[in-house]
Amino acid sequence: MTEVFTSVGRSIPRLEARDKVTGRTEYVHHLRLPRMLYGKIFRSAYPHARIKSVDKSAAEAIEGVFRVVTIDDIRTVIPHPYYGPAFHDQPILADGKTRFSGEPLAVVLAEDPSIAEEAAGLITVEYEEIPAVFDEVEAMTSDVLVHDELKPASTFADLKHLKGRKGTNIALDHKLLRGDPEAGFAKSDFVFEHVFRSQQVMHTPMEPFVSVADVTGDRMTLHTASQGPSFVRIEIARLLGWPENRVRVKVPFLGGGFGGKLYIKLEALVTALSLLVRRPVKISLTMEEQFFMVTRHPCTFRIKSGVNKDGKIIARTCDIAWNGGAYADIGPRVTQKAGFTSAGPYDIENVRIRSSAVYTNRPPAGALRGFGAPQTAWAYERHMDMIAEEMGLDKVEFRRQNLLRDGRPQASGTILVDAAIEKSLDKLLDIMKWNQPFDRGSGRIRRGRGIAVGFKGITSPTTSVAIVNLYADGSCGLFIGTVDMGQGSDTVMAQIAGEVLGFDPTTIKVIHSDTDVTPYDMGTLGSRSTFHMGTAVRLAAEDAKKKLAELAASVGMVPGSNQPISEIFERRYGMRAGNVIGVGSFIPEYQKPDPETGQSLKVTPFWGVGTNGAEVEVDMETCQFTVTKLVNVADIGRPLNPKLALQQLSGAGIMQYGFTTTENMIFKEGQLTNASLADYKIPGLLDMPREWINEFTDSIQHDGPFGGKGAGETTTIALSPAIGNAIADATGVQLMDLPCTAESIFQALKRAKA
């Protein structure tokens, strides 16, 4: 029996569409407050150096400069000015030493931003350079220490044991053990071992990072382009030693986020500045400065598999070093979450994983659309193809033979449920016409194709709370902390509430994050909103519906009668007055993994599943290549707004396509050489593959709201290896490192000839 829905499952346009096409959407980008000062950050010139002295005099002498601020000033208002979601390791401004080139070291405040910018250029600093470490593998054993002592935040119980640890750059080691991998290798017919690397890339949202802090009386109000207003409030309250109710965090629409605008970024700095000068302070980063805020982890992944003659994988070990840069940010969580799925979506009896978050003297790394899963899939799915190639196995059948299926335990021990891995693979192969003859090109043009399968767990346990407010005229406000940064959450959440309440979703008003008004949400991240907040919204709407029915009954109205809602309120209150408030709160079931073995009966609330297929054309002379076709198939449960869901798949795919082929932060002795969109190339229209196909499987997440689950990351997971595999198929050479470029093919071909 198919359920019939009136609101969810429909491709209604975004609620805010009209504002977006007329240029009227509200972003923090253009917010100005009376008496507001602009802050311009002065940044360190060296990746690792002691700060001997800072000369602010020339900057202070500029007419119009209000104040020049260093860490010493910050300390007068925040005595312990260190922040971070996993470790309290990041100083609000460099404190005694600088740990990456580009680290904020001072701030100039002025009413005119161009004066602040000019004055910032006049600050001079005397440094004493100290040896630096940039490579994640080297940093694991290096004598160069980025931090003298580890400072885990007390918020995460699983990090407490690291407190006070010295003499290491390893912020966190995540371990998983299942069966006996060494014994497994010993009894395998073949053992394969490869090392794969992923490069450092950046989110580059078109709206660069921006925050405004405004202290008035005993209240601190932040207007910030943040994906996690609730966390910002908690962390700012902690830094200030204030109760949370004195900190208010407001977030309108975001001009893109992609994981970058999470946890705490500019908020601590503007808060300190506003407290210092008792005026509103705004800091807007430039596109160039964004590269020094947060990035995606580069990573080195050593993967080893024992395989039997018949193609059964007996054992696998994964050793992954994540280059977290100078500050941990959320790297430890990336290390854990991507760590436990890093053996791939395969049913392997013996697995050992060691996933390490490592400090280096590079810009910090954090969450970026996929939470590390894309870096791991680059390794495990390239590894799968290379094994199949060497053993002469069919690449699809080799995967199929080892695929994890519902009801089987994943490496963590958590049983796979509602993960349409094989279904997604089948659909992909069908769209790719995999079983039909393939034109392999001729002359200097060679064609190849590849597929890859990826999956990911979801950050857990996390909480979402929603409020549905029915007003006396029968209209509805939906109060949620989920931030709409382009993914369309406002629209989908309204559709969920509308479905329960029987309302046209376009009439529901979504009230944006304002921590004084909207309830707690852990954050708009990691594909969690549809499942977590969606469930909270469903519960809140059901609660409101129930209360409304009770109210109706109390005034003698027949349940289900066609009388307007306003009539209920009028009968109850004698006029249009009062509210019905429904509340929903949701936290999924979770079991903390064993610290030594990583085993857990419920490590993730659901699974993200995506398969990707690519066809490429390579000019074997120049080594330039074109991706002629890309197909992405994802299991996103039931699509609650199919059009928006497909857009998420498509957008995430194109973004990952950039991370695969064009994007690369290039460093020279710790200095970033390409911090601009002129030289850090994100995909444009001319880069689009000619055939670009996105589909979802016909699936249902049984415990998701109306069968739905997250969609924002799934196509990112295995897109890179699909392209890498296709290039190998076309050229016969194996690319081990991202990005895949013409020159990397050229160099690989040269090595192969030698």
Binding site: T662, T673, D679, A742, E743
Partner: protein, 295 residues
């Protein structure tokens, strides 16, 4: 330490050359003439250049404007303040120099082309620009005025090095003249190695005078991978007067890659760019020959 920020300069808009020379001839390298201003703005925003004064040329009259054929039809005169879009839309340019609108298609974007001027582009000296090598391959020359009079220079002689031109202080390019050569064919190959829309890893402008498969005369200009756009004269010498064939192309490619030492940057290593140069010199010549004399 360079000084950041855009502040602290003034703008003057002289309406005569004499006035302009007076304003420019201060000995201060931070006083710059400004045409369309896009390149200057980029340098100012990236803190590579902080002006004390910008001397806008937009109110200067006649000598900087206009686009037309000479009376004898032997050359085309392009006022230095023509924007790229004006060139792109000019039927005269399309009929005499179709290479220009083909080059425009991948040159920056329409917004930049609507503002950037021919003269400013020539005077900028950035070796990655697409048009200077093309003008060189077309034997373009510029008319330059300055406090001490007027002179004419081949575009090829404008460049000394990385962002370095032979323009003296106070000198302004007023116009570009390009000879009309109906029996020549030309092409510009912009080789990008990352995104499709990018600065070139190498730029290759070639013009040839062909008689059947024989090359009567030619110009090969390489840009982007060197400190300035550069004629590949050794390769030209190999090819001049000979019939295009596989062996000759190989010989020419050898000569081209031997006569220059390319630079490694984020768009490719010296080794890879040299490899690309070898291939694209060959392909561009083959294409020009088959366009002129289809088999």
């Amino acid at each position: 330490m360079e000084v950041a920020g855009l502040r602290g300069f003034d703008i003057v808009e002289p309406s005569s050359l004499e006035e302009a020379f007076g304003l420019l001839g201060t000995g201060d390298p931070a006083v710059r003439p400004m045409g369309g201003g896009t390149a200057l703005m980029l340098m100012m925003k990236s803190e590579l250049f902080k002006p004390t004064r910008l001397v806008s040329l937009r109110k200067l009259g006649e000598p900087f404007h206009g686009l037309g054929e000479s009376a004898d039809g032997k050359w085309v005169r392009i006022g230095a303040l023509n924007t790229f879009s004006m060139l792109d839309h000019s039927p005269l340019m399309k009929s005499h120099f179709p290479i220009i609108s083909r080059t425009m298609n991948t040159l920056a974007n329409l917004r930049v082309r609507n503002v950037a001027s021919v003269g400013g582009n020539l005077a900028h000296g950035d070796p990655h620009l697409d048009l200077p090598p093309v003008w060189m391959a077309l034997d373009g020359e510029v008319r330059i005025v300055g406090p001490s009079g007027e002179r004419v220079s081949a575009v090829a002689d404008l460049y000394k090095g990385y962002y370095e031109t032979t323009l003296e202080e106070g000198e302004l390019i007023t116009e570009l003249r390009v000879p009309v050569k109906p029996d020549w064919k030309s092409s510009y190959t912009k080789v990008t190695t990352r995104a499709a829309h990018d600065w070139p890893a190498i730029g290759l402008a070639i013009s040839v005078q062909l008689s059947g498969r024989q090359i009567q005369d030619l110009r090969i200009v390489l840009s982007a991978a060197l400190d300035k756009p550069t004629r590949l004269t050794a390769a030209e010498t190999v090819l001049r007067g000979r019939d295009i064939g596989e062996a000759l192309l190989r010989e020419a490619a050898d000569a081209a890659t031997e006569e220059v030492e390319l630079e490694t940057d984020n768009r490719g290593s010296q080794e890879y760019k040299t490899h690309l140069l070898r291939i694209y010199v060959t392909r561009a010549l083959q294409d020009l020959v088959s366009e002129a004399a289809p088999k």
